[in-house]
Protein backbone atom coordinates (compact mmCIF):
# COMPACT_ATOMS: atom_id res chain seq x y z
CA UNK A 1 0.00 0.00 0.00
CA UNK A 2 0.92 3.60 -0.54
CA UNK A 3 0.31 6.35 1.97
CA UNK A 4 0.25 9.87 0.61
CA UNK A 5 -0.09 13.10 2.57
CA UNK A 6 -2.31 15.66 0.82
CA UNK A 7 -2.72 17.96 3.81
CA UNK A 8 -0.79 18.07 7.08
CA UNK A 9 -1.74 21.40 8.65
CA UNK A 10 -4.06 21.92 11.62
CA UNK A 11 -6.70 24.55 12.16
CA UNK A 12 -6.88 26.45 8.90
CA UNK A 13 -5.22 26.36 5.47
CA UNK A 14 -2.03 28.41 5.61
CA UNK A 15 -0.79 29.17 2.10
CA UNK A 16 2.21 31.44 1.66
CA UNK A 17 5.97 31.54 1.25
CA UNK A 18 6.59 30.27 4.78
CA UNK A 19 4.72 26.98 4.30
CA UNK A 20 5.87 25.98 0.82
CA UNK A 21 8.03 23.09 1.98
CA UNK A 22 5.79 21.33 4.52
CA UNK A 23 2.52 22.54 3.03
CA UNK A 24 -0.42 24.65 4.11
CA UNK A 25 -3.38 22.38 3.36
CA UNK A 26 -5.38 20.90 6.21
CA UNK A 27 -5.68 17.19 6.98
CA UNK A 28 -6.07 14.69 4.19
CA UNK A 29 -4.37 11.32 3.76
CA UNK A 30 -4.73 8.78 1.00
CA UNK A 31 -4.16 5.10 1.40
CA UNK A 32 -4.01 3.24 -1.89
CA UNK A 33 -4.07 -0.54 -2.09
CA UNK A 34 -2.38 -1.31 -5.39
CA UNK A 35 -3.51 -4.91 -5.85
CA UNK A 36 -7.16 -4.47 -4.98
CA UNK A 37 -7.57 -0.94 -6.37
CA UNK A 38 -9.14 0.05 -3.06
CA UNK A 39 -8.72 3.65 -1.96
CA UNK A 40 -9.13 4.95 1.57
CA UNK A 41 -9.10 8.67 2.29
CA UNK A 42 -8.73 9.97 5.81
CA UNK A 43 -10.26 13.40 6.36
CA UNK A 44 -11.52 15.98 3.92
CA UNK A 45 -9.44 19.00 4.84
CA UNK A 46 -8.36 21.37 2.09
CA UNK A 47 -5.81 18.80 0.89
CA UNK A 48 -8.60 16.66 -0.54
CA UNK A 49 -9.09 19.18 -3.37
CA UNK A 50 -5.81 18.24 -5.03
CA UNK A 51 -6.43 14.55 -4.42
CA UNK A 52 -9.75 14.95 -6.21
CA UNK A 53 -8.07 16.68 -9.13
CA UNK A 54 -5.54 13.86 -9.42
CA UNK A 55 -8.33 11.26 -9.42
CA UNK A 56 -10.16 13.20 -12.14
CA UNK A 57 -7.02 13.34 -14.30
CA UNK A 58 -6.55 9.58 -14.09
CA UNK A 59 -10.19 8.75 -14.63
CA UNK A 60 -11.31 7.12 -17.86
CA UNK A 61 -14.81 6.31 -19.08
CA UNK A 62 -14.34 2.72 -18.00
CA UNK A 63 -13.18 3.20 -14.42
CA UNK A 64 -15.35 5.12 -12.05
CA UNK A 65 -13.98 6.67 -8.90
CA UNK A 66 -14.68 4.71 -5.74
CA UNK A 67 -13.38 5.53 -2.28
CA UNK A 68 -13.99 5.15 1.44
CA UNK A 69 -13.61 8.48 3.22
CA UNK A 70 -13.03 8.25 6.97
CA UNK A 71 -13.50 11.49 8.88
CA UNK A 72 -11.71 11.61 12.21
CA UNK A 73 -14.25 14.18 13.38
CA UNK A 74 -16.30 17.01 11.95
CA UNK A 75 -14.35 20.10 12.98
CA UNK A 76 -14.18 22.46 10.07
CA UNK A 77 -10.52 21.97 9.13
CA UNK A 78 -11.26 18.26 8.58
CA UNK A 79 -14.30 18.67 6.34
CA UNK A 80 -13.95 22.01 4.57
CA UNK A 81 -12.38 20.51 1.44
CA UNK A 82 -15.28 18.20 0.64
CA UNK A 83 -17.23 20.70 -1.52
CA UNK A 84 -14.08 21.09 -3.65
CA UNK A 85 -13.51 17.35 -4.08
CA UNK A 86 -14.40 17.21 -7.76
CA UNK A 87 -15.46 13.51 -7.92
CA UNK A 88 -18.59 14.27 -5.87
CA UNK A 89 -19.99 15.98 -8.97
CA UNK A 90 -19.70 12.87 -11.16
CA UNK A 91 -22.71 10.54 -11.30
CA UNK A 92 -20.54 7.42 -11.49
CA UNK A 93 -18.54 8.17 -8.34
CA UNK A 94 -19.16 5.90 -5.35
CA UNK A 95 -18.18 7.47 -2.05
CA UNK A 96 -18.75 6.02 1.39
CA UNK A 97 -18.26 8.61 4.13
CA UNK A 98 -17.64 7.30 7.64
CA UNK A 99 -17.34 9.34 10.79
CA UNK A 100 -18.17 9.57 14.47
CA UNK A 101 -21.57 10.80 15.49
CA UNK A 102 -21.89 13.80 17.76
CA UNK A 103 -23.37 13.59 21.22
CA UNK A 104 -26.54 15.21 19.89
CA UNK A 105 -26.97 12.12 17.72
CA UNK A 106 -27.54 14.09 14.57
CA UNK A 107 -26.72 11.89 11.59
CA UNK A 108 -23.38 12.36 9.87
CA UNK A 109 -25.11 13.35 6.65
CA UNK A 110 -26.72 16.29 8.43
CA UNK A 111 -23.49 17.43 10.11
CA UNK A 112 -21.44 17.24 6.91
CA UNK A 113 -24.25 18.51 4.76
CA UNK A 114 -24.65 21.71 6.75
CA UNK A 115 -21.79 23.30 4.80
CA UNK A 116 -23.41 22.25 1.52
CA UNK A 117 -26.28 24.70 1.79
CA UNK A 118 -26.79 27.96 -0.06
CA UNK A 119 -25.74 30.15 2.83
CA UNK A 120 -22.26 28.61 2.74
CA UNK A 121 -21.84 27.21 -0.75
CA UNK A 122 -23.58 27.51 -4.12
CA UNK A 123 -24.32 23.78 -4.41
CA UNK A 124 -26.67 21.99 -2.08
CA UNK A 125 -26.02 18.52 -0.77
CA UNK A 126 -29.08 17.21 -2.60
CA UNK A 127 -27.58 18.40 -5.88
CA UNK A 128 -24.41 16.30 -5.66
CA UNK A 129 -24.31 13.79 -8.50
CA UNK A 130 -22.18 11.11 -6.86
CA UNK A 131 -23.54 8.11 -5.01
CA UNK A 132 -22.70 9.01 -1.44
CA UNK A 133 -23.42 6.78 1.52
CA UNK A 134 -22.97 8.06 5.07
CA UNK A 135 -22.06 5.61 7.82
CA UNK A 136 -21.91 6.52 11.50
CA UNK A 137 -18.98 4.98 13.35
CA UNK A 138 -18.31 4.25 17.00
CA UNK A 139 -15.43 2.43 18.65
CA UNK A 140 -15.08 -1.03 17.23
CA UNK A 141 -13.44 -3.57 14.96
CA UNK A 142 -14.54 -3.69 11.33
CA UNK A 143 -13.82 -5.80 8.28
CA UNK A 144 -13.58 -3.54 5.22
CA UNK A 145 -13.18 -6.44 2.80
CA UNK A 146 -10.23 -7.28 0.54
CA UNK A 147 -8.23 -8.20 3.63
CA UNK A 148 -8.41 -4.72 5.14
CA UNK A 149 -9.29 -4.55 8.83
CA UNK A 150 -10.13 -1.41 10.75
CA UNK A 151 -9.99 -0.64 14.47
CA UNK A 152 -11.45 2.63 15.73
CA UNK A 153 -10.73 4.34 19.05
CA UNK A 154 -12.04 7.52 20.61
CA UNK A 155 -9.33 10.08 21.27
CA UNK A 156 -9.28 13.10 23.58
CA UNK A 157 -10.58 16.14 21.73
CA UNK A 158 -13.32 18.69 22.47
CA UNK A 159 -15.53 16.80 20.04
CA UNK A 160 -15.91 13.04 19.72
CA UNK A 161 -12.96 12.17 17.49
CA UNK A 162 -11.86 8.76 16.23
CA UNK A 163 -8.40 7.38 15.73
CA UNK A 164 -8.18 4.82 12.90
CA UNK A 165 -5.98 1.76 12.66
CA UNK A 166 -5.91 0.06 9.27
CA UNK A 167 -4.36 -3.39 9.10
CA UNK A 168 -3.46 -5.13 5.88
CA UNK A 169 -1.24 -8.15 5.31
CA UNK A 170 0.47 -7.81 8.67
CA UNK A 171 1.15 -4.09 8.33
CA UNK A 172 -0.61 -1.35 10.24
CA UNK A 173 -1.16 2.36 9.80
CA UNK A 174 -2.58 4.24 12.71
CA UNK A 175 -3.91 7.79 13.04
CA UNK A 176 -4.11 9.50 16.43
CA UNK A 177 -5.14 13.08 15.79
CA UNK A 178 -6.77 15.35 16.88
CA UNK A 179 -5.92 14.43 20.42
CA UNK A 180 -4.13 15.39 23.58
CA UNK A 181 -3.19 13.33 26.62
CA UNK A 182 -6.09 12.55 28.95
CA UNK A 183 -5.58 14.38 32.22
CA UNK A 184 -7.49 14.85 35.43
CA UNK A 185 -9.81 17.80 34.83
CA UNK A 186 -10.99 17.78 38.44
CA UNK A 187 -9.41 19.90 41.13
CA UNK A 188 -6.63 18.30 43.17
CA UNK A 189 -6.12 21.44 45.25
CA UNK A 190 -7.30 20.69 48.77
CA UNK A 191 -7.79 24.44 49.36
CA UNK A 192 -10.23 24.68 46.46
CA UNK A 193 -13.75 25.05 47.92
CA UNK A 194 -15.09 22.59 45.34
CA UNK A 195 -12.35 20.00 46.08
CA UNK A 196 -13.66 16.47 46.39
CA UNK A 197 -11.22 13.75 47.33
CA UNK A 198 -13.01 10.89 45.64
CA UNK A 199 -13.45 12.91 42.44
CA UNK A 200 -9.79 13.98 42.45
CA UNK A 201 -8.51 10.43 42.91
CA UNK A 202 -10.83 8.88 40.39
CA UNK A 203 -10.02 11.60 37.88
CA UNK A 204 -6.32 10.72 38.14
CA UNK A 205 -7.02 7.03 37.71
CA UNK A 206 -9.42 7.53 34.80
CA UNK A 207 -6.86 9.64 32.91
CA UNK A 208 -4.18 6.97 33.40
CA UNK A 209 -6.50 4.22 32.18
CA UNK A 210 -7.54 6.17 29.10
CA UNK A 211 -3.95 7.04 28.16
CA UNK A 212 -2.99 3.40 28.40
CA UNK A 213 -6.00 2.44 26.22
CA UNK A 214 -4.71 4.84 23.55
CA UNK A 215 -1.26 3.26 23.80
CA UNK A 216 -2.78 -0.19 23.37
CA UNK A 217 -4.57 1.07 20.27
CA UNK A 218 -1.36 2.36 18.62
CA UNK A 219 0.95 -0.38 19.88
CA UNK A 220 3.43 -1.79 17.35
CA UNK A 221 2.01 0.27 14.51
CA UNK A 222 4.28 0.32 11.46
CA UNK A 223 3.20 3.88 10.74
CA UNK A 224 1.82 6.10 13.47
CA UNK A 225 0.49 9.52 12.49
CA UNK A 226 0.17 11.48 15.71
CA UNK A 227 -1.03 14.94 16.67
CA UNK A 228 1.98 17.17 17.33
CA UNK A 229 0.62 20.67 17.02
CA UNK A 230 2.56 22.18 19.91
CA UNK A 231 5.83 22.13 21.72
CA UNK A 232 5.48 21.00 25.32
CA UNK A 233 6.03 24.49 26.72
CA UNK A 234 3.41 25.88 24.33
CA UNK A 235 0.98 23.18 25.43
CA UNK A 236 1.56 24.01 29.06
CA UNK A 237 0.93 27.71 28.56
CA UNK A 238 -2.82 27.86 28.14
CA UNK A 239 -3.39 25.24 25.46
CA UNK A 240 -4.34 22.24 27.60
CA UNK A 241 -7.90 21.29 26.82
CA UNK A 242 -7.71 22.42 23.20
CA UNK A 243 -7.43 18.82 22.05
CA UNK A 244 -3.89 18.76 20.61
CA UNK A 245 -0.70 17.15 21.81
CA UNK A 246 2.92 18.24 21.94
CA UNK A 247 5.75 16.94 19.81
CA UNK A 248 7.53 15.68 22.93
CA UNK A 249 4.46 13.77 24.11
CA UNK A 250 3.91 12.25 20.67
CA UNK A 251 7.50 10.96 20.61
CA UNK A 252 7.35 9.57 24.16
CA UNK A 253 4.05 7.83 23.44
CA UNK A 254 5.26 6.37 20.14
CA UNK A 255 8.39 5.02 21.81
CA UNK A 256 6.44 3.50 24.70
CA UNK A 257 4.09 1.89 22.21
CA UNK A 258 6.97 0.69 20.06
CA UNK A 259 5.72 2.28 16.89
CA UNK A 260 8.11 1.68 14.01
CA UNK A 261 7.73 5.09 12.37
CA UNK A 262 6.16 8.15 13.94
CA UNK A 263 4.93 10.90 11.66
CA UNK A 264 4.34 14.16 13.48
CA UNK A 265 1.16 15.66 12.09
CA UNK A 266 -1.35 18.52 12.29
CA UNK A 267 1.23 21.30 12.36
CA UNK A 268 0.24 24.51 14.05
CA UNK A 269 -0.88 27.16 11.50
CA UNK A 270 1.80 29.49 12.92
CA UNK A 271 4.64 27.01 12.37
CA UNK A 272 6.89 28.03 9.46
CA UNK A 273 9.00 25.77 7.25
CA UNK A 274 12.21 27.00 8.85
CA UNK A 275 10.83 26.31 12.30
CA UNK A 276 9.85 22.76 11.34
CA UNK A 277 13.33 22.26 9.89
CA UNK A 278 14.80 23.34 13.20
CA UNK A 279 12.43 21.08 15.10
CA UNK A 280 13.42 18.19 12.82
CA UNK A 281 17.05 18.71 13.74
CA UNK A 282 16.09 18.82 17.39
CA UNK A 283 13.65 15.91 17.62
CA UNK A 284 14.15 13.54 14.73
CA UNK A 285 17.73 12.44 15.30
CA UNK A 286 18.15 8.73 16.08
CA UNK A 287 19.94 9.55 19.33
CA UNK A 288 16.64 11.00 20.64
CA UNK A 289 14.22 8.62 19.05
CA UNK A 290 15.86 5.22 19.68
CA UNK A 291 14.13 2.46 17.72
CA UNK A 292 11.32 4.66 16.47
CA UNK A 293 11.95 6.63 13.31
CA UNK A 294 10.47 10.14 13.69
CA UNK A 295 9.69 12.62 10.95
CA UNK A 296 7.47 15.62 10.34
CA UNK A 297 4.62 15.11 7.89
CA UNK A 298 5.10 17.01 4.64
CA UNK A 299 2.50 17.66 1.98
CA UNK A 300 3.12 15.40 -1.03
CA UNK A 301 5.13 12.89 1.00
CA UNK A 302 4.55 9.27 -0.10
CA UNK A 303 5.40 6.22 1.97
CA UNK A 304 5.42 2.74 0.54
CA UNK A 305 4.39 0.21 3.17
Amino acid sequence: MNLKFWGVRGGIPTPGPQTVKFGGNTSCLELEFRETQRRIIIDAGSGIRQLGNRLMQNKTDKNCISADLFLTHTHLDHILGLPFFAPIYLPDTDLRIYGPVTCEEEPLEFVIGAQLSYRYFPVRQAELAANIEYLNLQEGHFDLGDGIKLVTKYLNHPLLCLGYRFEYRGKSICTAYDTEPFYNVFSTDTNDPSYDEAMAKEGELAAQIENSRIEDFIRDANILIYDAQYLQDEYETGRAGWGHASIEYAIETARRSQAETLILFHHDPMRTDSEIDELSDRFCQPKHTADTQVLFAREGMVIDI
Partner: protein, 298 residues
Amino acid sequence: MLDAPSKADTCLKRIRIYIARMPSLSTTVTKVLETCNNPKASPNDLNRVISLDPVLAGQVLRLINSAYYGLPNPITSLTRAIIMLGLNTVKNLALSFAILETMSGKGAFRVFSVNDFWAHSLCVAVAARHLAMVKGASVSSREDFFIAGLLHDLGKIPLNKQFPDQYRRVLDESCNAQRPLQDLERELLGIDHCSVGELIAQKWQLGANLIQSLGYHHKPDNVSQTNRPFVTLVALANSYANLLKIGTAGDVAENHHPIISYLLEQSGLDWKILKNLGDQVLEAIEKAKIFLEISHKG
Protein backbone atom coordinates in the same frame (compact mmCIF):
# COMPACT_ATOMS: atom_id res chain seq x y z
CA MET B 1 -56.86 -11.72 13.06
CA LEU B 2 -54.37 -9.81 15.13
CA ASP B 3 -55.01 -9.45 18.83
CA ALA B 4 -55.66 -5.92 20.05
CA PRO B 5 -52.54 -4.51 21.68
CA SER B 6 -52.57 -4.96 25.45
CA LYS B 7 -52.61 -2.04 27.88
CA ALA B 8 -48.95 -2.72 28.66
CA ASP B 9 -48.00 -2.78 24.95
CA THR B 10 -49.71 0.54 24.30
CA CYS B 11 -48.03 2.04 27.35
CA LEU B 12 -44.64 0.66 26.37
CA LYS B 13 -44.84 2.09 22.88
CA ARG B 14 -45.35 5.61 24.21
CA ILE B 15 -42.72 5.12 26.90
CA ARG B 16 -40.08 3.99 24.44
CA ILE B 17 -40.59 7.13 22.36
CA TYR B 18 -40.48 9.32 25.46
CA ILE B 19 -37.29 7.74 26.87
CA ALA B 20 -35.24 8.88 23.89
CA ARG B 21 -35.87 12.55 24.69
CA MET B 22 -36.52 12.49 28.43
CA PRO B 23 -35.85 15.98 29.82
CA SER B 24 -33.73 16.74 32.85
CA LEU B 25 -35.36 17.81 36.11
CA SER B 26 -36.52 21.39 36.51
CA THR B 27 -34.94 21.38 39.99
CA THR B 28 -31.46 21.29 38.52
CA VAL B 29 -32.00 22.87 35.13
CA THR B 30 -31.03 26.43 36.04
CA LYS B 31 -27.74 25.30 37.53
CA VAL B 32 -27.11 23.03 34.55
CA LEU B 33 -27.63 25.92 32.15
CA GLU B 34 -25.46 28.24 34.22
CA THR B 35 -22.64 25.72 34.55
CA CYS B 36 -22.67 24.57 30.95
CA ASN B 37 -22.94 28.03 29.46
CA ASN B 38 -20.05 29.35 31.50
CA PRO B 39 -16.73 28.56 29.80
CA LYS B 40 -14.95 29.09 33.10
CA ALA B 41 -17.22 26.85 35.17
CA SER B 42 -15.25 24.38 37.21
CA PRO B 43 -15.30 20.74 36.10
CA ASN B 44 -16.08 19.86 39.72
CA ASP B 45 -19.26 21.92 39.51
CA LEU B 46 -20.19 20.28 36.22
CA ASN B 47 -19.71 16.84 37.73
CA ARG B 48 -21.68 17.83 40.81
CA VAL B 49 -24.66 19.29 39.00
CA ILE B 50 -24.93 16.21 36.78
CA SER B 51 -24.67 13.97 39.81
CA LEU B 52 -27.72 15.75 41.25
CA ASP B 53 -29.95 15.06 38.26
CA PRO B 54 -31.05 11.44 37.70
CA VAL B 55 -31.90 12.01 34.04
CA LEU B 56 -28.69 13.83 33.15
CA ALA B 57 -26.55 11.35 35.07
CA GLY B 58 -28.27 8.53 33.20
CA GLN B 59 -27.85 10.25 29.84
CA VAL B 60 -24.10 10.78 30.36
CA LEU B 61 -23.70 7.12 31.31
CA ARG B 62 -25.86 6.11 28.35
CA LEU B 63 -23.59 7.98 25.96
CA ILE B 64 -20.37 6.55 27.34
CA ASN B 65 -21.65 2.97 27.46
CA SER B 66 -23.29 3.00 24.05
CA ALA B 67 -20.43 4.64 22.16
CA TYR B 68 -17.35 3.01 23.65
CA TYR B 69 -16.36 -0.46 22.69
CA GLY B 70 -14.44 -3.15 24.46
CA LEU B 71 -14.75 -1.79 27.97
CA PRO B 72 -14.33 -4.68 30.39
CA ASN B 73 -17.24 -3.38 32.50
CA PRO B 74 -19.93 -0.76 31.96
CA ILE B 75 -18.89 2.71 33.11
CA THR B 76 -21.00 3.75 36.09
CA SER B 77 -18.80 6.61 37.29
CA LEU B 78 -19.64 10.14 36.16
CA THR B 79 -16.08 11.24 36.94
CA ARG B 80 -14.67 8.68 34.54
CA ALA B 81 -17.34 9.41 31.95
CA ILE B 82 -16.47 13.12 31.99
CA ILE B 83 -12.75 12.39 31.58
CA MET B 84 -13.44 10.04 28.68
CA LEU B 85 -16.02 12.12 26.85
CA GLY B 86 -14.42 15.48 27.55
CA LEU B 87 -15.94 18.53 29.18
CA ASN B 88 -17.35 20.01 25.97
CA THR B 89 -19.19 16.87 24.96
CA VAL B 90 -20.70 16.50 28.40
CA LYS B 91 -21.67 20.17 28.52
CA ASN B 92 -23.32 19.91 25.11
CA LEU B 93 -25.20 16.81 26.16
CA ALA B 94 -26.36 18.41 29.41
CA LEU B 95 -27.44 21.56 27.59
CA SER B 96 -29.44 19.61 25.05
CA PHE B 97 -31.48 17.94 27.80
CA ALA B 98 -31.77 21.09 29.90
CA ILE B 99 -33.12 22.94 26.87
CA LEU B 100 -35.73 20.23 26.32
CA GLU B 101 -36.98 20.98 29.80
CA THR B 102 -37.01 24.74 29.21
CA MET B 103 -38.89 24.29 25.97
CA SER B 104 -41.55 22.08 27.46
CA GLY B 105 -42.24 24.73 30.09
CA LYS B 106 -44.39 22.36 32.07
CA GLY B 107 -41.93 20.81 34.47
CA ALA B 108 -40.97 17.21 34.21
CA PHE B 109 -43.79 16.05 36.43
CA ARG B 110 -47.51 16.46 36.47
CA VAL B 111 -48.63 14.37 39.43
CA PHE B 112 -46.22 14.79 42.33
CA SER B 113 -43.70 17.54 42.89
CA VAL B 114 -40.49 17.35 40.91
CA ASN B 115 -38.62 18.82 43.88
CA ASP B 116 -39.96 16.07 46.14
CA PHE B 117 -38.96 13.44 43.60
CA TRP B 118 -35.50 14.97 43.35
CA ALA B 119 -35.10 15.04 47.14
CA HIS B 120 -36.19 11.40 47.42
CA SER B 121 -33.77 10.32 44.68
CA LEU B 122 -30.89 12.17 46.30
CA CYS B 123 -31.81 10.79 49.72
CA VAL B 124 -31.66 7.22 48.41
CA ALA B 125 -28.37 8.01 46.65
CA VAL B 126 -26.70 9.39 49.78
CA ALA B 127 -28.10 6.62 51.98
CA ALA B 128 -26.99 3.89 49.55
CA ARG B 129 -23.48 5.35 49.41
CA HIS B 130 -23.32 5.47 53.20
CA LEU B 131 -24.54 1.89 53.57
CA ALA B 132 -21.95 0.78 51.03
CA MET B 133 -19.24 2.51 53.06
CA VAL B 134 -20.42 0.73 56.19
CA LYS B 135 -20.21 -2.54 54.28
CA GLY B 136 -16.60 -1.75 53.40
CA ALA B 137 -17.02 -0.85 49.72
CA SER B 138 -14.09 1.00 48.14
CA VAL B 139 -14.34 4.76 47.59
CA SER B 140 -14.92 4.38 43.85
CA SER B 141 -17.51 1.61 44.14
CA ARG B 142 -19.47 3.67 46.69
CA GLU B 143 -20.19 6.04 43.82
CA ASP B 144 -21.88 3.17 41.97
CA PHE B 145 -24.31 2.89 44.89
CA PHE B 146 -24.87 6.65 44.80
CA ILE B 147 -25.74 6.51 41.10
CA ALA B 148 -28.00 3.48 41.61
CA GLY B 149 -29.84 5.33 44.35
CA LEU B 150 -30.11 8.47 42.28
CA LEU B 151 -31.52 6.60 39.29
CA HIS B 152 -33.63 3.93 41.03
CA ASP B 153 -37.02 5.60 40.38
CA LEU B 154 -36.25 6.80 36.86
CA GLY B 155 -39.09 4.59 35.59
CA LYS B 156 -41.63 6.87 37.26
CA ILE B 157 -40.77 9.82 35.03
CA PRO B 158 -42.25 8.47 31.77
CA LEU B 159 -45.30 7.10 33.59
CA ASN B 160 -45.87 10.41 35.32
CA LYS B 161 -45.32 12.49 32.23
CA GLN B 162 -47.05 10.37 29.64
CA PHE B 163 -50.06 9.17 31.64
CA PRO B 164 -50.76 11.96 34.14
CA ASP B 165 -54.47 11.21 34.67
CA GLN B 166 -53.98 7.48 35.15
CA TYR B 167 -50.96 8.11 37.34
CA ARG B 168 -52.95 10.45 39.53
CA ARG B 169 -55.42 7.58 40.08
CA VAL B 170 -52.52 5.20 40.81
CA LEU B 171 -51.28 7.51 43.55
CA ASP B 172 -54.71 8.19 45.01
CA GLU B 173 -55.69 4.53 45.12
CA SER B 174 -52.30 3.51 46.51
CA CYS B 175 -52.74 6.05 49.27
CA ASN B 176 -56.40 5.26 49.99
CA ALA B 177 -56.04 1.49 49.91
CA GLN B 178 -52.56 1.52 51.48
CA ARG B 179 -51.29 -0.72 48.73
CA PRO B 180 -47.85 -0.64 47.10
CA LEU B 181 -47.56 1.88 44.27
CA GLN B 182 -46.12 -0.64 41.83
CA ASP B 183 -49.12 -2.97 42.27
CA LEU B 184 -51.51 -0.15 41.34
CA GLU B 185 -49.28 0.85 38.40
CA ARG B 186 -49.56 -2.65 36.99
CA GLU B 187 -53.32 -2.76 37.51
CA LEU B 188 -54.11 0.61 36.00
CA LEU B 189 -51.33 1.06 33.43
CA GLY B 190 -50.35 -2.52 32.74
CA ILE B 191 -46.74 -1.87 33.69
CA ASP B 192 -44.91 -0.66 36.80
CA HIS B 193 -42.11 1.84 37.27
CA CYS B 194 -39.66 -0.98 38.00
CA SER B 195 -40.16 -2.53 34.58
CA VAL B 196 -39.95 0.88 32.93
CA GLY B 197 -36.77 1.65 34.87
CA GLU B 198 -35.28 -1.68 33.86
CA LEU B 199 -36.15 -0.92 30.25
CA ILE B 200 -34.43 2.47 30.44
CA ALA B 201 -31.31 1.02 32.07
CA GLN B 202 -31.15 -1.74 29.46
CA LYS B 203 -31.61 0.70 26.62
CA TRP B 204 -28.90 2.95 28.02
CA GLN B 205 -26.60 -0.06 28.61
CA LEU B 206 -25.97 0.90 32.21
CA GLY B 207 -24.73 -2.52 33.34
CA ALA B 208 -26.18 -5.30 35.48
CA ASN B 209 -26.07 -3.56 38.87
CA LEU B 210 -27.97 -0.52 37.64
CA ILE B 211 -30.38 -2.50 35.46
CA GLN B 212 -31.28 -4.72 38.41
CA SER B 213 -31.45 -1.80 40.86
CA LEU B 214 -33.94 0.05 38.70
CA GLY B 215 -35.90 -3.14 38.01
CA TYR B 216 -35.90 -4.83 41.41
CA HIS B 217 -35.50 -2.27 44.18
CA HIS B 218 -38.86 -3.47 45.52
CA LYS B 219 -37.99 -7.15 45.08
CA PRO B 220 -34.26 -7.60 45.64
CA ASP B 221 -34.81 -11.29 46.41
CA ASN B 222 -35.63 -11.83 42.75
CA VAL B 223 -32.21 -10.58 41.66
CA SER B 224 -29.45 -12.93 40.57
CA GLN B 225 -27.05 -14.00 43.33
CA THR B 226 -24.21 -11.88 41.92
CA ASN B 227 -26.10 -8.59 42.00
CA ARG B 228 -28.35 -9.25 44.99
CA PRO B 229 -26.15 -7.68 47.71
CA PHE B 230 -25.88 -4.49 45.62
CA VAL B 231 -29.62 -4.23 44.91
CA THR B 232 -30.51 -5.13 48.50
CA LEU B 233 -28.54 -2.13 49.79
CA VAL B 234 -30.26 0.15 47.25
CA ALA B 235 -33.65 -1.29 48.32
CA LEU B 236 -32.73 -0.67 51.95
CA ALA B 237 -31.76 2.93 51.18
CA ASN B 238 -35.07 3.38 49.35
CA SER B 239 -37.16 2.04 52.23
CA TYR B 240 -35.18 4.14 54.66
CA ALA B 241 -35.79 7.28 52.57
CA ASN B 242 -39.51 6.48 52.55
CA LEU B 243 -39.45 6.01 56.31
CA LEU B 244 -37.72 9.37 56.80
CA LYS B 245 -40.17 11.03 54.40
CA ILE B 246 -37.40 13.16 52.93
CA GLY B 247 -38.99 14.07 49.64
CA THR B 248 -41.33 11.59 48.05
CA ALA B 249 -41.75 9.67 44.86
CA GLY B 250 -45.25 8.51 45.64
CA ASP B 251 -44.44 5.47 47.80
CA VAL B 252 -46.66 6.46 50.69
CA ALA B 253 -48.47 3.24 51.41
CA GLU B 254 -45.96 0.75 52.63
CA ASN B 255 -45.33 -0.14 56.22
CA HIS B 256 -41.61 0.43 56.07
CA HIS B 257 -40.39 -0.99 59.39
CA PRO B 258 -40.73 -4.72 58.65
CA ILE B 259 -39.27 -4.22 55.18
CA ILE B 260 -36.28 -2.35 56.57
CA SER B 261 -35.74 -5.00 59.24
CA TYR B 262 -35.77 -7.71 56.60
CA LEU B 263 -33.40 -5.84 54.28
CA LEU B 264 -31.04 -5.03 57.16
CA GLU B 265 -30.92 -8.71 58.03
CA GLN B 266 -30.28 -9.67 54.42
CA SER B 267 -27.44 -7.14 54.28
CA GLY B 268 -25.88 -8.26 57.54
CA LEU B 269 -26.62 -4.89 59.18
CA ASP B 270 -28.73 -3.72 62.10
CA TRP B 271 -30.85 -0.71 63.02
CA LYS B 272 -27.93 1.00 64.80
CA ILE B 273 -26.37 1.68 61.40
CA LEU B 274 -29.32 3.87 60.49
CA LYS B 275 -29.15 5.93 63.68
CA ASN B 276 -27.03 8.80 62.40
CA LEU B 277 -27.77 8.36 58.74
CA GLY B 278 -30.75 10.72 58.76
CA ASP B 279 -28.60 13.70 59.75
CA GLN B 280 -26.05 12.90 57.05
CA VAL B 281 -28.73 12.62 54.41
CA LEU B 282 -30.34 15.90 55.46
CA GLU B 283 -26.97 17.65 55.45
CA ALA B 284 -26.19 16.34 51.94
CA ILE B 285 -29.55 17.51 50.66
CA GLU B 286 -29.17 20.92 52.25
CA LYS B 287 -25.73 21.31 50.66
CA ALA B 288 -27.15 20.30 47.31
CA LYS B 289 -30.01 22.78 47.69
CA ILE B 290 -27.57 25.57 48.47
CA PHE B 291 -25.47 24.58 45.46
CA LEU B 292 -28.53 24.67 43.21
CA GLU B 293 -30.15 27.72 44.75
CA ILE B 294 -27.06 29.88 44.38
CA SER B 295 -27.69 29.80 40.68
CA HIS B 296 -31.32 30.85 41.12
CA LYS B 297 -30.09 34.02 42.75
CA GLY B 298 -27.71 34.59 39.83
